[in-house]
Amino acid sequence: MTEREITPGQAGDGIERYVDPTPFDPMQAEALTEAQLRYYQASQWQIMWRKFRRHRLAVWAGIILFFFYLNVPFAEIIAPYSPNQRDSAHLFAPPQAVHLFHEGRFVGPFVYGFEAKFDLEFSNWVYTPDHSKVQPIRFLCFGAPYKFWGLVEWNFHVICPAEGGTLFLAGTDRLGRDMYSGLVYGARLSLTVGLIGVAIGMVLGMLFGGLAGYFGGLVDTIVQRAIEILRSLPELPLWMALSAAVPVTWSPLAVYFAITIILGLLDWPALARAVRSKLLALREEEYAKAAEMMGAGPSRIIGRHLLPGFMSHLIASATLSIPSMILGETALSFLDLGLRRPAVSWGVLLNEAQDITVVIVYPWLMMPVIPVIIVVLAFNFLGDGLRDAADPYR
């Protein structure tokens, strides 16, 4: 509109009128820039992702968790040993520090070998590093054989000890089992327990919360009372009682699933409550009413029209309940009520640390505490970030 044409008046009254020849566009005032257009046309999930990315702490937590979860599929490759492999020559060996320089000369990452001696006076193992034994760590190497996922025989590792040497990055326990490998394999069970447990809790929560919120009346009252009672019970003693009921004769896999189901069974009340209150609000919305008038059944209305409305919120709150499950499994295994060897989880590893007198002499037995705390913290931050991102009013 830089240029305007001057046209003489059509009515013949001699007055000049200024008329813009470009066609009139009624939407002009509301026209959007490219960026705005993308923002407004973004799906709910894209908006959530954008909001989530602004939450620095949550993003970092997500990245850390991603690396932890890498251990789940690739535990065999990442760990230098298998977690139940015993080394009777190295009982209660301390963590071996990784060095780069030997006598001022660069040799790359290596560990010093050590001499084991049994101290008869204090009856404990004493290890003295032997500085003449330089054992370079090998990377992308072939070492101890294993069965990948229990299926394929292989011996490829990301790191291996030197030929004839040892590599105990986090020490060994009373049977000479490598703690670091235990931590890597332990991640497999410890980290998935929360996911499966939360999945079970979510299904139950959506089912009961959905029933209560949609039908209301008597169903609502019953579910509400059940939620109230379950929430007023201390969780851990119940978990203990339930897992004590799991027969000792079951296989590790069966015990694992039993424990996840137990953890999930008591977790649904909080989610059910959230689902119920959201449903109560959403079913009054016009689109839900319209669907009902068009003859859609309850399951279609709930599943197709209402659930997507609060799925994001649900996932965020589920994330926040994963840590409590991880801790639950850790506590149960620590108390001998959960998983047992040969299954390896962080709680199973901590089981070795039950006797405080042993821990004082061999403090590295407490090592599994560190990944537990990191993962729990990361899930808390991630959950906070997700919840903020899922909240449409922020």
């Binding site: 201390p234 003693p237 009682a241 108390l335 403090p363 537990v372």
Partner: protein, 341 residues
């Protein structure tokens, strides 16, 4: 007020019934019972004489009856082999492992459990209240950041691991054993002032260990509530009228923020009681925790059942107290119920 107290207390009865049924269901879940397992063992050893005795015991404790009868007998609402004798009549059952009544096994641990939980709740209140106010009024100060950081660490560290770490550090730094709830010399002594002092001194570590995560949560919530209130118009108005900052804080926003603070303790109690059970096992405290663990492992069903029920009742009573406190504090609650009728 009285009618509210009565109504609230009576409301607990059906809840208790459901919980007792749930507890009984759970302790009956493992296949067989303590005595039938013993019979199987004795049969394997070929000891016929003892079997007769155990069979007699089975009848004595009504373990040969169907589930519903067993439950009602346990509750005391159905005549058992010895007439009405169950929880309602004050008979807490029989511990097969210790061959003593449950009351004798857990007797001394119950008051200590209550004491420990009470101390923890007190700790949570006393610590989180001033810190919460400080963090809210000095938002984004170094102190606020420091407490927030500590709070996150407290939230993330599971209390039994915190117990383990503290046990380790106390040993390394002070050469001190912090397990137990009193010095060994007092264990079988009658109560005296010195014994009470010893118990109180030993209570400090477990209280901190159990209370930390709860305290962290409470600080966060009090801070958030108080911040919400501080940004409201009436605060600005009061400030504009020249009200002194401290008086302003205590008189209006704090009172508003206090309600959720007290209501939240009800939500916190289940996790505190949970924590006290497992921390007791780690720190070897003479509360019901270690007894429960043993009873569960040996399938000593009446003992574990009683403890589970006791722990649940403890939680319910805690929530009752927090509700009553709330009613005392907030007239809307005690009057609102009446107005609603």
């Amino acid at each position: 007020m009285l009618s509210y107290v009565i109504r609230r207390t009576l409301g607990m009865v059906p809840t208790l019934l459901v919980i007792s049924l749930l507890v009984f269901l759970i302790i009956e879940l493992p296949p067989g019972d303590y005595l039938s397992n013993q019979i199987a063992q004795l049969k394997a050893q070929g000891e016929a004489a003892s079997i007769a005795k155990v069979e007699f015991l089975r009848k004595e404790f009504a373990l040969d009856r169907p589930f519903w009868e067993r439950y009602l007998i346990w509750l005391g609402a159905w005549p058992g082999p010895n007439g009405f004798s169950g929880l309602i009549q004050g008979n807490w059952g029989w511990s097969f492992e210790f061959e003593k009544p449950v009351a004798d096994v857990v007797g001394t641990t119950l008051p200590l459990t209550i004491l420990l939980n009470f101390a923890t709740i007190l700790f949570v209140y006393v610590v989180s209240f001033p810190i919460g106010i400080y963090s809210a009024t000095r938002q984004y100060s170094w102190g606020d950041y420091g407490f927030t950081f500590l709070g996150y660490i407290g939230l993330a560290t599971p209390n039994f691991l915190l117990g383990l770490i503290m046990l380790y550090l106390a040993n390394i730094w002070f050469g001190l054993s912090i397990g137990g709830l009193m010095d060994p010399q007092y264990v079988d002594e009658p109560w005296s002032l010195a014994k009470v002092g010893s118990v109180l001194a030993h209570l400090i570590v477990p209280t901190i260990v159990i209370g930390t995560s709860g305290t962290a949560g409470m600080i966060r919530r009090l801070r958030a509530n108080l911040l919400d209130e501080l940004h409201k118009q009436y605060v600005t108005t009061a400030r504009a009228k020249g009200l002194n900052e401290n008086r302003l804080l205590v008189k209006y926003p704090l009172r508003m923020a206090l309600n959720p603070f007290i209501a939240d303790i009800g939500n916190l109690i289940p996790s505190l009681v949970s924590g006290s059970v497992i921390v007791s096992v780690v720190l070897n405290l003479p509360t019901v925790g270690p007894v429960l663990l043993n009873a569960l492992k040996s399938q000593d069903q009446f003992l574990s059942g009683f403890i589970l029920l006791f722990v649940a009742v403890l939680t319910l009573v805690g929530m009752l107290i927090s509700d009553l406190l709330l009613a005392v504090l907030d007239p809307r609650i005690r009057l609102g119920a009446r107005a609603g009728q």
